[in-house]
Amino acid sequence: MTAAIKSQGPAVKAHSARNGQGHAAAEVDPDGLQPAGLPAPAPGPRRHCLDLDDYSAEEIRQVLDTADAMKEILARPVKKAPGLRGRMVVNCFYEASTRTRVSFEVAAKNLSADVVNFSAGGSSVEKGESLIDTARTLVALGANVIVIRHSMAGAPHVVARNAGAAVINAGDGRHAHPSQALLDLYTIRERLGGLAGLRVAIVGDVLHSRVARSNIHGLTRMGAEVILCGPATLLPVNLQLAGMRFEHDLDAILPQADVVMPLRIQKERAEGGLIPSLREYRQRYGVTTERLRRMRPGALIMHPGPMNPGVEIDPEVATSPQSVIESQVSNGVAIRMALLYLLAGVAV
């Protein structure tokens, strides 16, 4: 590197979630496959879940296995275990969300944690109190875990660095949504028996999608291949990670995919000049009943929600036998219980 200033001393922050500062540059397996020779787990217990880029395959597997145990709790008459009794989880939502917030809330309650929900519109600056002050206040009030959703990338990292609580990123800007990616991995593993060697097509507005970004990290780390398919204006064309590639022709890749995951397309994308019209978008990238017929038998349809039925996905496709969209939602609770259990119980 040319940076003439040497990085050294305490200022070398890395973005590893282990200490809230810092960065284990995503170790990438050269051939995109695991399991041999995976990145060694970083020293010390993990304190935060900010993205999947610093999770090893082993750690991801640990979360998924824990979610298996959590799923058993969900099947009981009393869907509750005292695993996090006396721990306080604060859902700190700076951006509107129903499913993710409720999912985290149910997960925390299933583990007997005390749950506080806090929502604020817009940014902390508009609200008049800084994000850091808010986070410190929550910790002073007893928060052990801060689950944060924010419209701006990196907000959870700022909280992780400045507050003495475990931080779980529930979606930050277009950056990351690790719990969603983990539940996607879990659902695929549950349905198809594994992840290595699969080919997953993520279709549509990848550029603005935090779900896609976290899925790229998670899937490639587990040895799956990711195809990002969409118009050039909606793909993060500068992104280069092992195990992923860009495509523009959905019909060409459809027969190769084991999983097809259309992303929500927002009307504003047409207004901003990124696509000509939703009509043309559907024609080229909509997962229609017609296209469903050309998919592999047994291939899965997933959608992170909320859907625009009739635009990026036909309603008949969403409810077809190949669709696992509902399982994604119920598995989300098990995954979030697993994350909360693994992060919230640790002595700080």
Binding site: A69, P82, G345, V346
Partner: protein, 199 residues
């Protein structure tokens, strides 16, 4: 037994250290003890009706299965066997640096109005059993819960006593009881290991 779980968390596996301790139960002793316990269960409950065996993970599970085989042999009834993971019910959440992995729990029948025989390998402080009682009650309201252990080593910290005991073994706090089973460890036997050896 807590120290087992913790050792497992530390080692990342369920392996006990290889021998080096004093053998207190041979494979034959173990077989005889389990046979006796099976008879006691039948006698005490006047048969095996409404009985469910629940093994506490890890080594309570194969012991429960062996007891079930004997009950089938003596009474000709297949008693349901469940397995219970108590991790989420432990009383030391938040006191550790790393969370222990949560294992699977599978209770094949509704426990309401059943007589549950909880099975573990070693009874020590009683904390695991306390956790198991809480866990079981989350599955319903059993008519009764009884406790069977292969070894009772004393040092209780809670008011818990076993209904069926394979062997009472006086130990000191600096010793550990290592139970080995065919199913999990390749061979049967119980040893006392001093903690210095384990460390």
């Amino acid at each position: 037994m807590y120290s087992d779980v913790e050792a497992a968390a530390r080692n990342g596996s369920d392996h006990l250290p290889s021998s080096g301790g004093k053998l207190i139960m041979s494979a034959d002793d173990m077989r005889r003890a389990l046979t006796r316990i099976a008879h006691e269960i039948i006698e005490h409950n006047r048969g095996v009706r409404q009985l469910v065996l629940v093994g506490m993970r890890t080594r309570g599970v194969p012991i429960a299965r062996r007891l079930a085989e004997r009950l089938d042999e003596f009474e000709g009834v297949q008693v349901p066997v469940g397995e219970l993971d108590i991790t989420l019910y432990r009383d030391d959440i938040g006191l550790r640096a790393v969370q222990p992995m949560v294992g699977s729990t599978a209770i094949p029948v509704d426990v309401s109005d059943k007589i549950i025989v909880l099975v573990d390998d070693v009874l020590f402080t009683g904390r695991s059993v306390r956790a198991a009682l809480d866990a079981l009650i989350d599955y319903g309201r059993p008519r009764a819960i009884q406790l069977a252990v292969l070894v009772d080593r004393g040092h209780r910290e809670l008011p818990i006593r076993p209904d069926y005991v394979g062997k009472n073994v006086p130990t000191s706090q600096t010793e550990d009881v290592a139970v080995r089973l065919r199913e999990t460890d390749g061979q049967d036997g119980v040893e006392i290991v001093s903690r210095e050896v384990r460390a």
